[in-house]
Symmetry: C2
Subunit: 157 residues, 2 copies
Amino acid sequence: MPNAFDNHDHSHCATTGLAQAETILAARNQRLTPVRRETLRILLSEHRALGAYDVLERLADAGFGKQPPVAYRALEFLVDQGFAHKITRLNAFAACMHPDTDHAPVFLICRICHALAETAATPVRTALNATAHAVGFTVERSSIEAVGRCPNCKDAA
Amino acid sequence: MPNAFDNHDHSHCATTGLAQAETILAARNQRLTPVRRETLRILLSEHRALGAYDVLERLADAGFGKQPPVAYRALEFLVDQGFAHKITRLNAFAACMHPDTDHAPVFLICRICHALAETAATPVRTALNATAHAVGFTVERSSIEAVGRCPNCKDAA
DNA sequence: TAGAATACGTTATGATATAACATGTCAACA
DNA sequence: TGTTGACATGTTATATCATAACGTATTCTA
């Protein structure tokens, strides 16, 4: 599976992502309405996080409503259904790169080019659960977000 | 070392925290001015995260300025110097419980009572670095925040 | 003590997010 | 097949979080 830092056929990401969403949502009897579909397409079109107001602007350009709740509601739906994530450090949203598998992902955010990768969380999550367990805490949800330099920007300041 | 979920002599947290800050800042030639001191005292007075406007209100009550930059600047200073952390998931700030040691902490946020604990990060950070390294990413800073139930609230909904 | 650096206070504005309510769409079924 | 109820979309208005820009005061240091 490619990640955001590889060169890859990016058009593939969007078509695959939309197709996956269609299938999964149909199975759940949930509707991928036009606004929701366009919102997901917008997020899939970049391997970076977009602010709700960026998404809103693009939705408005595509003929949908111009007011914040339009974007926030579509984003909330996609997050609830596992097709997008909120990156709390950035107050921004990104398409999920593997809605079919394991969740509680780790996000790697490039400080230079703003690329965003979503990586395998298992070992990190295991460590987090152990740490929490040691003080009697039960983890329900977690955000693990790292800022740094991606391989393409590793020599930059 | 007690954590937020233990019963402990809480007045101790504030006095120790302030004393530590005095000592460490003096050694760095940094000034713990009255606003900064009061801000730290406010954060230390609770084992939970406070929003900047909550802090601001208490600062105003204590006779300091009433405008947002007053709180944000003091908080920024404390974060820079390692005496407070921003909890991005909550858009809120909390006193650091061990400004003297290892950083890049893990935060455990109780969904029920809003208590906040800052725990040993080493194993989680190790796992995160390994995960990042596998895709060629260099971690510079990270936030690891878990929401769930603390031992005192584990039987609640 | 003059000048530079730092800190504090204010006004104003920007950025992110949601409450509340009206209108529109669609599927189930009486 | 028309009504109903659930869900979705759109709007207005407002809440919440954060910073830019500028003037004044304090502190440090030469």
